[in-house]
Each structure stands twice: as structure tokens, then as C-alpha cells.
Symmetry: D2
Subunit: 342 residues, 4 copies
């Protein structure tokens, strides 16, 4: 059964595995104190166009988020997130487990508006309430949408005014950067955010995320916090080698573009077949709205998530494409969709 369920169903790009294989017999220092890690950092700084950032490689997104956010906040400080934010919904209270409240903001498209954020901060005005201190956004969001440069600038301006850190979860940053609608560069992100991460797991790597700390005030002694949460990887070079493979020849962008192109093809096919979308997406997640019986028929051949039960026996489903998605499977899905419509 072919899967459009997520973008971490595969095992990792061949170039990445080859690099791990080629270097397997080498002895290096552990814990990221090796020359490959230095190379990977230099390479990412060059891509970001910013030498004044700290880069740390961590095995997964939840671990990256919890280490970073808990390192940046004092105990009474809280996080603001869209109610759809991964940390709010799907990380088992990992941020709260480090002691910090996460506020959910209403969001129909996974994004937040400056006015919403301002209202929350203004309501929290004294010591009987937590102090909002960090705005958590995802790019692309959990609903496949993306912030534009102007939108990110507006949030940055607001955060600066209100004394908030701006943190961007880039689990699917590859797809966002490769989107045809995107006008944000890594350099913009490093200018506008206090910290963000470049996701590897969902973009070709076996595993691994690159946390980028831009705000000087958040850099100090960060590796202590990583170690305390179990996030310093013994063979740190395994993470670095993967980011070298992804960024040395623009593989990261190529893989993102492929995923997006496949998703766009699916999305176009859905629309041409006469169905609605829950949101229009320019990234690798799409949300067709289909009749229950069509969904049931598709489920016999494909794996995907039922996202939301809507009125009139309609179901919004989520289809995700990745760098491994095969075009012939996309074509087949669209063909099947048309067949199953009758």
C-alpha cells in the first residue's frame, strides 16, 4: 500500500548513507567535537549568510524544541503558539514537562496574526499570571501554509516591541524554502528569528535537525542544556555528515522542490477532479476535501490521515509528499480518485 501519510516513511537519501559508509572507519572525537562538525557548521553559516550564529545538531524535532525553549526561558516565562502548533498538540506536553506554559491561539490556517499575540501579552500583566516570552511558529506550518517575508517581519517587529523571543520550528523548512510562493531566505530567517532549526529528518536525512541560535544572549552554555536533556549525540559527526551532504550541492533544496512538485500535482489533480481543498497549499502537505465513500475507497490502496470530519459526509484528508514520492504513484492516485468518484 503506497503511503502519503508522512514525510519520514523512508530511510534516508543514498548520498547520506554513502557518506556515513565512507567515513565509518575513521576515528574522531565524540560529541560533535570533530572536524566534520566544524565543516557542517561552516557550510550552514555560509548558506545562511551569517557568521554570527551558533549551530547545534540534534537528533529530532521534539528534542530540539524542548532543549531550545527550556534553555531560553526563566521558569515563569511562557510560550505562545498557534493551537495547531506541534509543541501544543503533538509533543506530549514536552514543553510543559520542562515547566513552561504554552498558550494556544486560534488559527484556521496554522499561522498567527500580530494582533492576537499582542492581546495575549497585554492580558498577562502581573505576577499572578505567567509572562509570555517566546513566540513559537512553524515554517511550513502544520497545515502546509507558509509565512511570507512581510508577515515574518511584522511578527519580528511585534516581538521586539513586546520583548518576546521569536522561535521558528523548521521541521519542514526544506519544503517551505522550496515553495514557489516562498519569498523568505535562510538569511532573512536568521535576521528575524532569535533561533530556528533547519529540519533534516523530513528532508532527506536519516535523522537530524540543525538548531541555529541567532540571538547572542541565548548562546551561552547551551551545550550544558543539551547534555542535560540527553541531546548531545555521542557520535556527533553522524549528524554533521548528513548536513554536509544536504547542503554541499543544494540537495536540500532539490529534495524540497521534488516533494512540493509532487504535492502540487496531487493538489491540481484533486481540484481538476472537481473537489475542494481545505486550504490551498504551496508546500508538501495538501488537504483535499472528499466524500466519505471516496475516502474509504482510496484507503484500500493508499495510506494517509483523515484530518477532519466535516459536514455533509465530507472528509478532509491530509496527503504528504516527500523527496521519495514517485510521480507514477501520484498519477495513479489522481486516476484512482477520478475512478472512485463515480
Amino acid at each position: 500500500m503506497y503511503s502519503f501519510k508522512n514525510d519520514y516513511s523512508d530511510g534516508g537519501h543514498p548520498d547520506i548513507i554513502r557518506r556515513l559508509s565512507d567515513t565509518a572507519a575513521e576515528q574522531t572525537e565524540g560529541y560533535g567535537d570533530d572536524h566534520y562538525s566544524r565543516m557542517a557548521e561552516a557550510l550552514l553559516k555560509k548558506h545562511i549568510g551569517n557568521q554570527n550564529v551558533d549551530i547545534h545538531f540534534i537528533t529530532g524535532g521534539t528534542l530540539t524544541n524542548l532543549v531550545a525553549i527550556s534553555a531560553f526561558l526563566r521558569p515563569h516565562e511562557a510560550v505562545i503558539s498557534a493551537e495547531t502548533g506541534h509543541i501544543y498538540v503533538h509533543e506530549t506536553g514536552s514543553i510543559e514537562a520542562t515547566g513552561h506554559k504554552v498558550f494556544p491561539l486560534d488559527s484556521s490556517d496554522g499561522k498567527m496574526k500580530p494582533d492576537q499575540v499582542r492581546a495575549v501579552v497585554q492580558e498577562h500583566h502581573f505576577e499572578h499570571m505567567v509572562k509570555p516570552k517566546l513566540l513559537y511558529i512553524s515554517q511550513s506550518t502544520e497545515l502546509g501554509t507558509i509565512y511570507s517575508l512581510q508577515e515574518l517581519r511584522d511578527l519580528r517587529e511585534l516581538c521586539s516591541e513586546l520583548g518576546l523571543f521569536l522561535y521558528l520550528d523548521g521541521a519542514r523548512l526544506g519544503s517551505a524554502l522550496a515553495s514557489e510562493s516562498n519569498d523568505l531566505s535562510l538569511n532573512d530567517i536568521s535576521d528575524l528569528c532569535d533561533a530556528f532549526y533547519i529540519g533534516g529528518t523530513k528532508s532527506g536525512a536519516l535523522f537530524g535537525e540543525a538548531l541555529v541560535i541567532c540571538n547572542d544572549g541565548l548562546k551561552d552554555e547551551f551545550r550544558y542544556l543539551m547534555k542535560q536533556r540527553g541531546a548531545i549525540f555521542a557520535k556527533g559527526r553522524l549528524l554533521s555528515l548528513q548536513f554536509i551532504a544536504l547542503f554541499e550541492d543544494n540537495l536540500y533544496m532539490e529534495l524540497g522542490r521534488h516533494a512540493n512538485r509532487m504535492a502540487d500535482k496531487l493538489q491540481t489533480g484533486v481540484v481538476e477532479a472537481g473537489y475542494d481543498l481545505k486550504f490551498h497549499s504551496s508546500t508538501n502537505q495538501i488537504f483535499p476535501v472528499l466524500p466519505e465513500k471516496t475516502v474509504a475507497a482510496l484507503e484500500k490502496k493508499y495510506q494517509f490521515y483523515r484530518w477532519e470530519t466535516m459536514e455533509d459526509e465530507l472528509i478532509a484528508i491530509r496527503l504528504i509528499c516527500s523527496w521519495t514520492t514517485e510521480e507514477k504513484q501520484v498519477d495513479q492516485f489522481v486516476d484512482d480518485l477520478i475512478v472512485f468518484s463515480y
Copy 2:
């Protein structure tokens, strides 16, 4: 410069990398809900000789320890560890960061005696003190020593009497099991411990540890705790595939034996060259005691840790061998040691 500094200097065994490569294009469920994970669990249960255990794969030792220990304890319950225990010394207070006190017991050889444990529990008799609830041991210990079957039975008996959980950190369990002095099997360990982990990172894997929960009372909803701490790996099969490679054809024991044999050869060479050992070791870590000038000379050719500064300008150093340690380098080291002695 050849390194005897640790057993995670390399990149991983070729068989393991091959398996990752061979399966890279396959689609599977994420988060360990895949058939390779089921296979790896079945294989380990067979090796352990115990079907009634739960097995969870986690990327590293610190993360495994903190997830497991914090999952097993109520907030007022504490851990007893040798003062040399990895969680007490070298995990940046990761257990305390989850809210639990760790008591250090004096230990000259990395091991604890039942009477020491009993004394701590008896002193902690009322609600103004924490309640000791988990005994943390390492096999092999941080000093290369190992518990015998009788010693582990004695600790188990004591733990049962006192209501303590017995948890075994198996970061170097491969070397311990392969030791010529060892009389403990995986089956014994699963009988005697409430939980333990089989370390992969230091025994041939790229990364990964297999946590084995033996006590039924500790199994419930454990994956929630893993997820909350960032310890559910997106592509869980990458962990499972490595353990399949390590256990399908006894690779795990072979690699452990090689490491031990190299360490023994080093240790014998040191003694024959006329030097003392801080402890006699039957595992892959040895602790020669050498004059300062000899140490300084060796440091020009080899990497290793200075462990302790002793009297009379003597230094105890730590040499670690692994499955990658080359016999000719061992021989060369012994030759150099003799040369540098003059």
C-alpha cells in the same frame, strides 16, 4: 594520532550501514510502528530468553537513563548510585533535572555493596527526607569492573527486601557480557533487574540503545514518557535495523570479545613492562599507572584520558578499546611504552 580515548570514536559497523542502505527506499510507518521494530524486539526477546519484557529503542544512553528513571519514580523518590556512576557524574544533572535526587555511595571500583545500600535506605525513614526507590548500577562499570551473578543476586535480594527497583545501565554491556570473567547472561539480567538497557552506541552500532523493561508494573504507557522527553525516534526502524544486525548472527558478542581481547593485550603489555594497574580489568577499559614523563611521551602519539593524578608523579590513565581497535596499534603502543620508559 591513534585514539584509545573512547569506544565511540568510529562511525559504525559495515553490516549495520549496509542494512540501512539496503532498506533506505522502503516506506514504513514512523515512530517504531514498523515490522523491523517488531523483528528487532522478537530477536532481542529470544536472546534474552524472556518473552515477558517490553523493549524500546532510544538514540543514546543519557536519554535512555533519564526517560526510564523519571518514568519509574514518583516525585519524592530518589536514586542510589555509586559516586562514579555515569548519571551522578557525567550526565549534567539529567536525573535531577527531572526532579529526582541521586545519592552517591563511596566506591573504589565502581561497584556498590548491599550494606551500603541498606544503610542509605535505613537513614531515610520519614517524609522530611527523600525516599530511595531505585538502585542504579552500570555493567560494566565506569571503571571497567563487572558485577558477578552472585553479586547481582545479592543486590536483587536486597532491593526486593527494601522495595527498590534495580536498574542496570548497559552502555558497555557488550564488553561486560563478552568478558572472560563474566558469568551473567542476558537472561539472568532480565530475571534480576526491573529494567536495563543493552548499549549499541559503544558496541558497533552507529547509535542506539535497547531499553528492556522487565517489571510489569513499570511498562504501562511508557511511550508517552518517551515522547514527552523527545525520545521517540521518527524513523524508528533505523534503531531496530541496527539491533537486528547486532543480534542476528552474534555480531554483538564478537565485537565485545574483540574489544576485550585488545584491552587485555594492552593490559598484559603494561604489566609486563613493569607498571601497576589502578584496577585489574576484564573488559574494554584499562587503567595503567605510569610516570608523568612516560604519559607525556605517549600523548604525543596517542589519545587517551588522564584519569587521576596520584602520588610520586604517577598518573593513572584510561585506555579504551573497541571493536575497531587495531591489533598492530595495540602492539605499537606496548612497544612505545617500553621505549618511553627509558
Copy 3:
């Protein structure tokens, strides 16, 4: 300036101070291991009509809530609360600081409906999300409303079905029990809740709350958890003596009735003066809706909270009465309200 701002503006009932004075020279055991504490427990058990409860005295409400809730939950378990709940809004993230997520449910009147609770539990169905485990309610609520016996039974039934603990914050339980609309007894509450507290601070005591643990499974080693959070009071008898004073001759109910009668008189005056209420209240908090200019005029003579800015330049204010509220001040307020209306 006379205050209707809250019910802890005063210093404590004379009977209570007298008891502290009368016993000041006595020597007793510390930490609540004294005969007054045993007396207070026996007295409360008699009033509750339930011998099978554990009673612990704690200095304040926030501390009581955080000790109890964090003692009852495993790390991945979460709390459900009305969005108006004190723990969600006004305790500076104290529950999250112990590691637990608190879910807010929409509520216009401070109460929750079984269907809302069921929906949250059903949405949280797997290990990538926290597990809802405790339902937090307040009686009276933060908006002055109360749950009826039938409503509490319905919540209990639901909690039993879903495996949730039911915890009742009784900061203002005195006013709730004394309400003319109330049909709930302490005995009902102890039957239906897993734990609750009888608030002293807002009901005549200098300070102090009596936590009542009804569920046997939650009783074990609770004092360890209290001590760890700084909630075992050195001179525990000071708490017990106050509860003896409050419950020996029904003082607790008398004071609650007075507060409610004063609030009712205010509320009736407001309505007779031609104004609306945000909610009708039968407890000691009322919420008149007044024109901005009237509010501004009243603020020159009285202290109270502006609760909410509404449409048409109307303001909902909160007036709180307590056992110390003077009837002549209530009458004066109503007179002034009429005067300030012109």
C-alpha cells in the same frame, strides 16, 4: 475607601485569633504531628460524614493545588480546566511548573459540561499527545456560580467512565455551601470527588486550606510530596486550630451565609436600580454591568475590580463580600449607585 475587591482583605476572625493566643505558650510536636491536628482532622471527618478520608492542612490555595495535582499525576498526564479556572489563569503556571499541561475549556459561566470533557479526552488518544487525567473544577467558580448535586454527579459519572480524577478547588467552598441555591453537602463532595479542599483563607481564617483526599489510591506518602514542595508547616497546629474554630460551632457556615447575604443585597440593589448582571450569582461574588461614568464615580469611594469592558461603554465589575462586609456599607453602595446613575 471601602473595599469590595476581594474576600481576603481582612485579618481573620476574632475566635481564631483567640485560640492562637490561648494556646501560644503550649509546647507541641511540629509539622502537624500534634493533638490539635488530630482534633481538627476528626472534626472535619465528622462534618464530612466520612471517616475514610485523609486530611492535610496547607497554608494557601495555590500551594494546595500544586502539591495535590502534581502528587496525583504521572508526568505525561494532564489537567482539564475551565478557561476561567484559577490554576489556568491566576497561578502563574504553577501546575505547568510541576510538569503538567492544563487544557482550557470554553466556559461562559465558569463551569464545564460533560460533553466538553468527553471531547477533549477522545481527541487525546495516543502517545504523541498528553493523557488527560484530572478534571479541575472550582466550587464556587471564579465567576460566582455553583455546580448542583446533579451536575457534580454527571461529572463524576463521566470521570469514572473516562478514568479521570475529579478535583474540586474549594477556595470559596464556604460561600458555595452557604448559598441558598446549593444542594451539595460536604458528604456529597467527598463521595463524588477524588480530592477537594475546604478553603479557610477566604472564609474567616487568617490563612489555611484543608485538603481532603477521598480516593484511597491517592493517599500514599502524600506528606513526602507536601514537604518537597515546602507545604508542611512547621507549627502545623496553627492551621488545625483555625479549622477547629471554624467547624466546632458552625462558624464556617455562618460566615459564608453573611457574605452571601451581603452579596445578595448588593445584587438586588443593582437590579432594582435598573442595571443588568453579567451572571446571576447566589454566592459572595456578583457582577453588575454599569455605565463607564457610574463605575468611575463609584471608584472614588470603593475598591473593586473592573472585570470586563463590554459594548456601549458598559463595564462589568466584580463586587465581593466576605464575613467582614458591613451591611451599612452595602446600603451605602446601593444608595451611591442610584445617586451616581443620574
Copy 4:
């Protein structure tokens, strides 16, 4: 049975109760935002001789310690304490429960030496270990000893050199200040420590400690941290009024002197009766070493702690005097000791 068991067996000084009584009917703001709290702060600042400190009143010592220490530290930072320190032994892991490791240093008399502290800091040199950041001392110590001005200066100098905060637990600061051996003033303490607290509970108050934050860098938003831990007292003035009573006419010192004088009389009696002391004390705790049978006989008439079982059937007991200790009971104890010696 007369008690020498501790210094919180009584109910509080009459002057204090009178003040609570006299002001009981007054309405004030809650949470310490009242004029009595401002008066108490001003009075303490005058006594300390330092206007540039922040003062917060908290109900008890464990709560004060845990709020302060957890507010001052980042997650990876740790505390150094004597192994006899109250936070290490008798607060049920309250500091660890906030996430911070506490290191025990050997101490025969409850005090620490600069060299010990320096050694611990030097050992902890990299991110795999916690970072020692706060030195916790008690004055008087848990063994009745006191630091001299010179000793405290030496510790301060060391802390400044090593980047440590110096925190002084003053649960028994009254007795320490009133000791005939003491050469430290409150002003010295505020000069030398980053924060400390002036204990009320054991020195005449019903309850309450005054935390004094001297280091400007530790003052910001401290009340958020208090509230989050349940340490903002609803009727804050009750704490303030007690400190006004203790400091307005030097009652605090008077009560300390009485306690010390009684302890000294006991100690002299013990020595004159021919017995040894475990330590010589100049404060309100003394540690006679008596034969088992004498101890057993005394236990029939008096309450006190058996502190340590020593060789030759000797027992070190702890006797504590307080402001309420009656001289005739002291005389009687000494008489009985002589009688029971035969």
C-alpha cells in the same frame, strides 16, 4: 513531658499575636501590597543598614529556599552544600525537585572551607557535568556552629572569584546573631551574600521568613517565581506584622539571647557533670554525649533527638532551647542529668 526537641514547639510570641489581633478588622490589599508590608520592609532595611535590597516575606524555610534557589539558577546550574545542609538532608529533595543538583561536601561541624568549594568547582569543568553556581550555607548551621566574619569574607571572596552566588539560610539567624561568639552583623551579611533569609518561625514568630535579595541581578520579576511556587501569601500583611513586632523594639535579638543563654546553661551543666560535647556550641543547639542508660532515663522526662550513636554505648543527643525555654526546666534537666548518672 518538657521538650528540648526543637525551637518551633510553641505558638508564637504574645506581642505578635496582639498585633494580629489589633489589626484583624482592617481592610488592606492582599498579597503583600499593603502598608504594613511596606513598613516591615523599611524597618528591615534600616536594621540591615542597606536600602538597596529587595525583601520578600514567605511562610516557611523550605519554601523560601526552593523559591529563591530555583529563581536564581539556570537549569544546568547546581548548588554546593555541606552534607549536613538542611536542603541536602531534610527538605525531601525540594531543590532537586526544581531541577537542580545539590553537591554534598564533607563537614564535621556543619561548615565548609574555601578549599573544598574550590575543588568541586574545578572538577566541574565542562558540559558533561553540572555547573556549580550557588554556595548554600546556614547560619547558625544545622550543628549549632556559626561562621565568623572572616570566614564569611573568605567564602565571599572565593565565590566572587569562581562566579558563585552565596546564599545564607537564616532559619536560626536570630540565635546566631545573638551568640556571644558572633562578630557578624546583618549589614555584613547583606554585603557578603547575594541573598539570605532572616528566620522568624524559630525566633518568636508564629511563622514567616524574610528573604533579602542583595544582588541586583537576582531581583528581577522575583514575585512571579514566588507565585508560581505557591509562596505569595494571600494576607501578606500577616507576615509583615510579625516582622514589625520582631524588629521594632529589638525583640528578635532579645529572644535569641534568651535561647542562647538557656542553651549555654544546659551546656555548662553537661560539662560540669563530667560529660563531653560533640561540638562546643555558642547558639541554641547543643550536642551532649551521654551514656545510653542516662539518655534512656532522660527520655522518660524530656523530649529531644538522639543525634548519633557513637562508640562505647555513648549517644550524642541534641538539645534545643528557644525563646520559650524556661530556666527552671533547664535547671531541672541538669539536676536530673546528675541524678541519672549514678
